[in-house]
Amino acid sequence: MDMDVIARNLHFMLGGLVLTFELAIITLAGGFLVGLILAMGRLSSRAWLYYPATCYVHFFRGLPLILVIFWLYFLSPVVTGRSLEAFYAAIIAFVVFEGAYFAEIIRAGIQSIPKGQAMAAYSTGLTPFQCTRDVILPQALRNMTPALVTQAVIIFQDTSLAYVIGLREFLRRVNLVDAREARSVELYLFAGLLYFTFCSAGSLLSQRLENRRQRNRV
C-alpha cells in the first residue's frame, strides 16, 4: 500500500468534490421543484394534469439514469443542432430524472395528511392553492423530511455518473489520478471511504429525523 499517492494528489481530487456538491445541490433544488409540480399533477382530478404527470413519472422511473444522461448529451445536438455543454447536460438530466422520484415522495407526503385538514381549510373559504400552501404542504414536508434526506444521499452518489460525459467531478478525478499513478487499490478505497462518510452522515440524519417524527406524533 502506498498511501503517499493520496497525499500527493489530495488537493486535485478534493477539488472535484466542489463540482460534485454543485451538481448535487442544484439537482436537489431543481428536482424538488420539478417533483412538486409533478406531484400536484399526480394528485389532480383533472385528466389533462393527471395523465401527463403520471406518464412522466413512470417513464423516468423506468429508465437508468446513465441512459438519460447519454440522451441529453448525445441526442440533444441532433435535435437542436447545437451541442450542449457537458455540465448543463448533466444538470438537466439529473433534474429531469430525480424530479420523477421527488414527485413520488412529495405525493406520498401530501397523501399522508388526513382529509379533514383540507375540509377544515376549505370550510373557512380558503382556495385549493391557499389550502395546499398554508395547511397541507407544511405538514407534508415535515412528514417527508426523512425520505427527502435519503433521496439527497442517493443524488450525491448519482452525481458520479456525470463522469460518462467527461465532467471532472470527484470520482472522475480519482480515476484520472489512477491512470497516471496506477494505484487503483489505494485510490478507490479512498474514494469509497469518502462517499461512505458523507452518505452515512446523511443516512444517520435521516434516521434521527424519522425517530423524532415518530416521537412527536399527536
Partner: protein, 242 residues
C-alpha cells in the same frame, strides 16, 4: 336562510347516502339532526357548504345556489362556519394562527386587526390564555373551542356542527355545549349534528331524525321527544335517552 330541496346523493351507483332530503331553516334557528351511524348526517352537512357534490336537487344558502357553476364557492363557504368531530385544527400552527389564517388570507385583514378579533373571540369561548399554544398542548375541550373560534373569526352567518362533543371526555362536553348555547341565544343560525338530547331540548327550534339517508321525522323539541310518530324514532330515542 338555508333551503334544501329534494337533495339526493350517491357515493357510487349502488350506494345512495341521501334520499330526497328537503328542509328549510330560517335565520336565527337552531336545527338539531340526529340518527344512527351511517345515516348520512355528515354528508348532509357537507352538502350545505359545498364540500360534497350531490347529484340531484338544490341547496340555496342566503339566496345563492351552492352548486351553481356561477357561484363563488369560496366566498359562500367563508360565510358558513364548520366544526368537526375531530377538531381538525392545523397542528403546525398555534391557536392564534389557526384562528387568523382565513381572516388574513380570505378577508385580507391586517395581522393586527385579525389578532385583535381572534383575542376577542378566544375570550368569548373562555380560553384567551391558550392563544399561543399548539393544538397538541390543549385538552379536547380547549381544542374544540379553538375550532369554534376559528369558524367564528370569519363572522359567519351560519354555523354547522358535526358531532362537536362526541370525541370529548364527559367533563369537557359542557364547556363546549355552553359556547354553543350562547351562540344559539345570540341568534346564530345553526345546524347541529349531535346526540346531546339535553342540548337539543334546550335550544333546538326543530329536531330531525335521519335513518338510511332519509328524514324520517322532524318536529319541535316538545313533539319530538313526547310524541314521536315513527317507530324507528321511538326505538332510537329509547336507546339514547336510557
Amino acid at each position: 336562510m338555508i333551503e334544501i330541496k329534494n337533495v339526493s346523493l350517491w357515493y357510487d351507483k349502488n350506494h345512495q347516502v341521501l334520499n330526497d332530503i328537503s328542509e328549510t331553516i330560517q335565520r336565527g334557528q337552531t336545527v338539531v339532526i340526529c340518527g344512527p351511524s351511517g345515516s348520512g348526517k355528515s354528508s348532509l352537512l357537507r352538502c350545505i357548504n359545498g364540500l360534497e357534490y350531490f347529484q340531484k336537487g338544490d341547496i340555496i344558502v342566503n339566496g345563492v345556489s351552492v352548486q351553481d357553476p356561477d357561484t363563488n364557492i369560496h366566498q359562500l363557504r367563508s360565510n358558513i362556519g364548520m366544526v368537526f368531530q375531530h377538531f381538525e385544527l392545523y397542528p403546525h400552527m398555534t391557536a392564534m394562527e389557526n384562528i387568523t389564517l382565513a381572516p388574513l388570507r380570505v378577508r385580507k385583514k391586517s395581522k393586527n386587526e385579525a389578532e385583535k378579533k381572534a383575542m376577542e373571540i378566544l375570550e368569548r369561548v373562555g380560553i384567551p390564555e391558550q392563544a399561543l399554544k399548539y393544538p397538541a398542548e390543549l385538552s379536547g375541550g380547549q381544542k374544540q373551542r379553538v375550532a369554534i373560534a376559528r369558524a367564528l373569526a370569519m363572522e359567519p352567518k351560519i354555523m354547522l356542527f358535526d358531532e362537536p362533543t362526541s370525541a370529548l371526555d364527559p367533563e369537557m362536553i359542557k364547556e363546549v355545549l355552553d359556547v354553543m348555547i350562547d351562540l344559539a341565544g345570540e341568534g346564530m343560525t345553526m345546524v347541529v349534528v349531535t346526540h346531546e338530547m339535553g342540548f337539543a331540548r334546550e335550544v333546538a327550534h326543530e329536531i330531525i331524525f335521519m335513518d338510511k339517508g332519509r328524514m324520517i321525522e322532524k318536529g319541535s323539541g316538545h313533539d319530538f321527544f313526547n310524541h314521536p310518530k315513527n317507530e324507528r324514532t321511538r326505538q332510537f330515542l329509547s336507546r339514547i335517552l336510557i
